[in-house]
């Protein structure tokens, strides 16, 4: 479980487009049908009534069911991999969580203050019709940016990142103002002959 700061709000969770998962599942479906295809070449379907008479048929059914069970589990492994591969935008940072198989997991994050520019690209016929594309988060200095590939509705994601940036900058500005105000008040309090009325009024930095 990813832990966030107490004052950190999760804005959006992004996963790859469902087409990525469906293309993996398609391979499994082909694999599950393949034995039936091979079987159909050597079997006259008019004799289907006789199929369960010999014990060879039950052996083949057993092998086929075992094959289906393995493919079924593989399908859920793919789904878990797809589901746990996620990008998270909070009002403080961008998180890239990459699940690579069962036992390898990479988590990297980028503070919003490092972000300089966010662009998105929808390239090709399929991406245009299914509305998905890539997002490039560029950063200042030597910090490595983020590339988010195969994201559904990239325009919305870009807008969410921008929204997160605005929230972050507003909060940051308020925090800086508060820090300056407090340090000034502290200085006034400690200096000799501090004016009580000045302390009572506080300091307005706006």
């Amino acid at each position: 479980m990813i832990n966030f700061d107490k004052d950190e709000n999760l804005l959006i969770e992004i996963r790859k487009h469902w087409l990525v998962f469906v293309s993996e599942v398609f391979v499994l479906i082909v694999f599950s049908i393949m034995p039936l295809m091979i079987f159909s070449f050597s079997f006259d379907f008019s004799r289907i009534v006789n199929f369960f008479e010999g014990n060879l048929s039950s052996l083949l059914t057993f092998i086929y069911l075992a094959w289906l069970l393995l493919l079924w589990v593989a399908g859920f492994i793919f789904w878990t991999d797809y589901y746990l591969d996620v990008w998270v935008i909070t009002d403080k940072k961008l998180l890239d969580i990459e699940q690579k198989g069962f036992f390898r997991r990479e988590v990297s994050f980028l503070n919003l203050e490092k972000i300089q520019d966010v662009t998105y690209e929808i390239d090709g016929l399929i991406q245009t019709f299914l509305n998905y594309g890539d997002i490039n988060v560029k950063t200042a200095g030597n910090v490595e940016g983020f590339f988010i590939g195969g994201v559904p509705n990239p325009a919305l994601v870009r807008a969410k990142i921008n929204e997160a940036l605005i929230i972050f900058k507003t909060k940051n500005r308020e925090r800086i103002k508060k820090d300056i105000r407090e340090s000034l008040l502290e200085k006034i309090k400690t200096s000799e002959g501090a004016d009580d009325t000045l302390l009572a009024d506080g300091i307005n930095l706006d």
């Binding site: 014990n55 039950s58 069911l65 589990v73 859920f76």
Partner: protein, 78 residues
């Protein structure tokens, strides 16, 4: 020449097939445990709902039950 299943009988010992079934079940249980561990611990905020679990276990149990059944039928016809 037409292929007819009722003409063929195989004599693979059923103990061997029960052993294979036990191995498959072992693999299945370990994988399910790892999958559930990931679903419980590695989601970000939205928990994995009950529906994927029902689908996973429902279909898996049907397949395993069918495997048991075919093995019993195999043993009867041996």
């Amino acid at each position: 020449m037409d292929f007819n299943f009722s003409d063929f009988y195989v004599s693979i010992p059923s103990d061997l097939l029960w052993g294979i079934l036990a191995l498959i079940l072992g693999f299945f249980l370990i994988t399910s445990f790892v999958l559930h561990y990931h679903w419980r611990n590695y989601t970000v905020k939205k928990k994995i709902g009950i529906l994927p679990k029902i689908i996973f276990w429902g279909v898996s149990l049907i397949l395993i039950f069918s495997m048991f059944l075919t093995l019993i039928i195999y043993e009867i016809n041996l």
